[in-house]
Assembly symmetry: none
């Protein structure tokens, strides 16, 4: 690739145009929504010609997809999360205002993509990777750590449980159109995740029954 690129004569793609266009796209996407977004508008906002946009992305859809892909910035890697000592503490630590905001925005954009995925199955994986995987990955990591430290049973269905939070957040954003706020996320943690791994929230009495 790098060789072929070096060998090819002619002016190089202006690397600064890509982010400029993507930023403009994200901006417009956020302001006017997917269908309100116009290539002409994006190009104009990026001070680019339409041809320059189409030289990079074959269609509006692909541009949108990559623009979304660039949203991945939400500092949510496992390492940056503290080990609070308890699963609940870890999960609650994920709920940071700016992280919520980021997820919210991603989901909003995702709304525009959903219909697109129907027609462009090849993009599913990318969307998947960018939008849902990050949070799922972290949750999975936290669950495994809880198992390792003996806090929860080892035979819980980690993979399925890790999806719960993302799924419900997506559902709430895309379909219910309600805000994914702290209270909602807490209710998932305390109402679903923790009970499912056998931790009864403290508000309830110590579960003598059964």
């Amino acid at each position: 690739m790098t060789e072929a690129e070096a060998l090819r004569p002619g002016r190089k793609r202006d690397a600064s145009r890509d982010p400029a266009i993507l930023d403009a796209a994200i901006e417009v996407l956020a302001e006017t929504g997917y269908e309100g977004m116009t290539i002409d508008l994006v190009a104009a906002r990026a001070k680019a010609g339409k041809a320059t946009v189409y030289r990079r992305w074959a269609s509006k859809n692909e541009l949108v997809l990559e623009a979304v892909a660039c949203l991945k910035t939400a500092g949510l890697d496992p390492d940056s999360l503290p080990d609070t000592g308890t699963l609940r503490g870890d999960l609650v630590a994920m709920i940071k205002p700016h992280s919520i905001q980021d997820a919210q925005r991603k989901m909003q954009v995702m709304g525009g993509l959903v219909s697109m995925l129907t027609r462009h199955p090849e993009l599913v994986e990318t969307a998947q990777e960018v939008i849902v995987e990050p949070r799922v990955r972290v949750t999975r990591f936290l669950l495994r750590r809880a198992i390792d430290r003996g806090e929860i049973r080892a035979d819980v269905d980690v993979d399925t449980l890790a999806l719960v939070s993302s799924s419900m957040a997506a559902h709430r954003t895309l379909i219910q159109r309600k805000p994914v706020d702290r209270a909602f996320l807490i209710s998932i943690i305390d109402g679903v995740l923790l009970p499912a791994v056998g931790i009864v929230p403290e508000t309830a009495e110590p579960a003598a029954a059964r």
Copy 2:
């Protein structure tokens, strides 16, 4: 309404056009997706004129919405469900092939609507009611019955738990684009729902550990 209708002179609306158009809409929606769907195409398929469509629905969006609303046919009302005696039995009883198929189709169509909801918040409730509520309602009912019969604790978060299944199914269909098959639903039941209400699936040994 009926009066005004009776008083108004002129030819009556041909009642048979409504379902014809809606059917065509659903057909096209399923085949080509939301953005691929064209009013001209729908009208042609229903052998109707465009004016006949627009006389009934103000826009493509509203047509799509009502078309979706007509998908509610999947005999999933609480009364038709047997009381198997156990929560797990009840939940598994919901998994019927044609019910799965129906949900699948609904979700597929829902995909096309998501981007629409951004611009037409007034449609959210309808979509909500038609697509997600039915299943959520049934699940909620089953959970309450389990509480009533003393099978599970009374302080579980019924409302949140009832959403789990629908949310995860939606996520799987719309975003992951994987089929919502029996295995997937079972893994939700046994991996999330039952554990969350304190029922450890039988496959695991009787909790000697811990």
Copy 3:
């Protein structure tokens, strides 16, 4: 044709759009020239949508051609011309200010068409018929009348002579870009046409020489 048209269902073409668009086209054509002319501009000026233009003419070229075809209005039919009794009188009578103006405008438009004809030979005849034939026809008529009244010899090459004036006017407009004014036309009449049919203009002495 008329039958097929009557039988075809659907809204009829709005007959008033054709002239509106053609007029706008001619207007723009005259103002900005052929390549400066834009379909969008023409449509906007005619308060029409682009589709309405393209429904009638397959391309900018065809629109231009028909617009030109509509210029044929320059009241120059043989009947409207007086019989002055002499060929010179008849020819000079053709030189009327508004007739000159009309020819000028036609030629100007013709300028834009010339390059088009290369690629669309099928349009040559139309252009020919509209632009050059009228004047040629009249000149031919006048020559024949002169023959009939015995003013000139019967064996002059009427067909070729009839073309002289048009050709030279075209040449002057399109290539030399000089105005086709009265003096120029008179010089053609007195310097070429009349001598060629054996009439020596009076300014010269009565042909004692030779």
Copy 4:
């Protein structure tokens, strides 16, 4: 010029590129016509970069114009023409197959220029000089020689008559799109030019009348 050129540092312009580009331009011009001609195509055909083209000519129009200017090759200078002793002989001597061909080609290219002249009046003179003047000049020369030798009257309108042949050939090529063949040129000579200078072609009787 030569000094400045010598003083300027850096690589010299590759003189061989000029004719290569011009030839390519003429080639494309002949094949696809003016509007079908693309700078990219010309450059590619000449194995040149676009910048190399634009370093030499400021625009497509100017390139075309100079390309046309290079067509002047058709050995038609007065000196190369024989003095046949009669005007008719001289005029007919101008009709040489390759000369016809050349004129034909020039005119074809001229077709593409006509629309250009509207927008670039400064090019009129060049076009004029290159395309029409050569033939006009020769004709004018022959007419004067005929006067000098006493073959025709001295008071004929030489300037106007000299234009006849070129004008009619242009008209025939550009507008009528018919070939300018020997027969056509002969008919101009015998039907217009010679009669106009008082020479009645031999086929007709000796013009006793008047």
